[in-house]
Symmetry: C2
Subunit: 254 residues, 2 copies
DNA sequence: TCGAGAAATCCCAACTGATGAGAATTGTCT
DNA sequence: AGACAATTCTCATCAGTTGGGATTTCTCGA
């Protein structure tokens, strides 16, 4: 546990225990994992339970509670990124069979926040909310390539063991991607698919998300790929502009 | 603000400000609404921001952050209620055009946690996470009718102004529903639709969720309705049993 | 129903972390 | 550059938090 101080952070740290691999916890397991005293842990659990973030299981233990579901509903309704990107996702999948995704870059994680699927086959499984790999794939590359140099190098160094090439090769590839304005990856995350992704940039040019189309590699042609690259590049740029203009509008309106 | 004590609860209370009507807040608005001092509020916001629950907007203000999305993904993956009910939702919508929903009863709220849609027309809009009305509709009735008498009467009294009938009529209707095992409602929530719902009961017979099919009222026939009632009643009962058996299995295995 | 064990809560002294008034700094926009 | 808004800092005070250990409540099987 890396430097958790204050009861607010200690309470929220409990939620970090819940993962795909460990969706349920008994209080004893939590006590051992977190190192809190029993009375304190129960007090924290009571708080999270009453707020709806945790739910007691019938026999013993706890799982995530309905409040996270409610909050996610609110989040998807009000997210400017989704509002700016939704029409593009729909248009993209109307023009090209595949899965179009909008993926947020959030605290060193890649998180799909919206997607559309027009693929005749099941391509991959990164539904809303599931973090994506950081060292592989077009989306990762579309984010890493636009990070400030220092951040980029730190991240690549940190995940060096996970990349399929040496560091210098990875960095060179990211430079190419940036020059190109779009990233393409074949079968890096899921065999048999090809991903094309471009970043959504904030006002300060930092990447905040990526727009991506994942298609079946077997049916991809060079002409098709070129068209998709252009479309993705243009759409991501439009979303970037939209997010900026949207904020300007709000300032004018008060 | 009803009796919030302790910094854990105070921090989580910030999240309660975010609603469909008010998805974004400036720190000043929050300060006024919650009555916290400025430094304290900023400290709390820092905690929530760093944990991913809130996100600062580019100009000013805050909205819900990606952590709620991540947690909801985990929740949908591990919810025993969804695991028990999913196949029924699919079968229901395969047999009958409409929207089949699984709705959790959570701290006096009705929250859709899973649904399937086979309706040729758009019927209603209660996606995952959006609370449903408490005084109208088949789902509400399927929960209220199975509540312990004291809870039921308290709730009906509390929401009396929202019911379309006097209290005694409502209570009588709930008694009928319970005798019947299933609730039917025409156009109470959304005009032109009919909802059929039955409760999922915990081991202690308390309602914890409802299974519901919402269909187009114009195409509903008495024979069809009777068939749907029977199916919903049986499926809800099967889900109830499943949730209990599932827990027994766990105890045996572990 | 009883008993054993697990889960959860209570008590309370010690102390540490949280609080807020007010000042200072940083960020944003014209 | 200047004005204003947003955010952070300082620090004395004290309120809330903590955890050891005891107690109570719950669950399940015989």
């Amino acid at each position: 546990m890396s430097s958790i101080s204050g009861s607010g952070e200690r309470i929220l740290a409990i939620l970090d225990l819940f993962t795909e691999a460990t969706p349920e916890w008994t209080s004893e397991e939590m006590r051992v994992a977190l190192g809190y005293s029993r009375p304190t842990l129960y007090r924290y659990l009571k708080t999270l339970k009453e707020a709806g973030f945790l739910m007691a299981l019938p026999q013993s233990g706890y799982m995530l509670g309905p409040r996270v579901t409610e909050l996610d509903f609110l989040s998807r309704r009000s997210d400017p990124l989704i509002a700016a990107g939704r029409a593009h996702l729909v248009a993209l999948t109307a023009a090209h069979p595949g899965v179009a995704s909008l993926v947020r870059w959030y605290g060193r994680k890649l998180l799909c926040v919206a997607s559309e699927d027009s693929s005749p086959v099941t391509l991959s499984s990164y539904p809303r909310g599931r973090p994506m790999p950081l060292a592989r794939g077009a989306i990762s590359r579309a984010i890493l390539a636009w990070l400030p140099k220092r951040d980029q190098e730190a991240l690549v160094a940190e995940h060096e063991a996970e990349f399929a090439a040496p560091r210098e090769t990875v960095l060179a590839m990211l430079r190419d991607t940036r020059r190109d304005g779009v990233a393409v990856a074949w079968g890096e995350v899921t065999p048999g698919v090809v991903g094309v992704a471009a970043p959504v940039l904030a006002a300060d040019r930092a990447p905040i998300a990526a727009l991506c189309l994942t298609s079946d590699a077997a049916t991809m042609t060079p002409a098709r790929l070129a068209a998709i690259r252009d479309t993705i590049r243009g759409m991501a740029s439009a979303i970037s502009t939209d997010l900026r203009v949207d904020n300007t509008d709000q300032a004018v309106n008060g």
